[in-house]
Symmetry: C2
Subunit: 104 residues, 2 copies
Amino acid sequence: MPKLLQVDFPFSGPFGAEMTKALADLAESITKEPGFIWKIWTENAAEKEAGGIYLFENEATAKAYLEMHSARLKELGVAEVRSRIYDVNADLSKVTNAKDLTNF
Amino acid sequence: MPKLLQVDFPFSGPFGAEMTKALADLAESITKEPGFIWKIWTENAAEKEAGGIYLFENEATAKAYLEMHSARLKELGVAEVRSRIYDVNADLSKVTNAKDLTNF
């Protein structure tokens, strides 16, 4: 069953177009992680926060990615990573316009 | 600019198919909220948590929905609602397979 991984953390930048430039290679590499389906990149320059909403094929791959990513963030100076792993209620999500969660 | 609203909270159920039945009318009503684009419904029966990832047309509509929804959850006995409002980095999200955030 696909699992949604929600991650957010304090982040001092770069944001916006600068973030895109700085993290394009990282983004490309994330698509090759085991079980990875998609990631929405989130950022809030005013609050100095960033994160991501991910879909993974199952709980094991979501957990393995979270562990690897948290260690990587720690090396980049991000000490506090908040995370949640959820099931998706696909039927209710379809009602609310998220028609095809595994391919959008 | 579209805003992503991330909401999660302690929830005692129902989960899964029972949640779908119980909240189908609520889901339908959410699609009519001002500025609403989509919602992914999240749930974790083991941790007794639930939430949602929403996209709204702008910050004002995301904030107005959050205020209304938090009050509604409080009436249902949910005291602690965690929330974040983010910009989406659309370019990086496209690299990671989230091709069309405003229509999926």
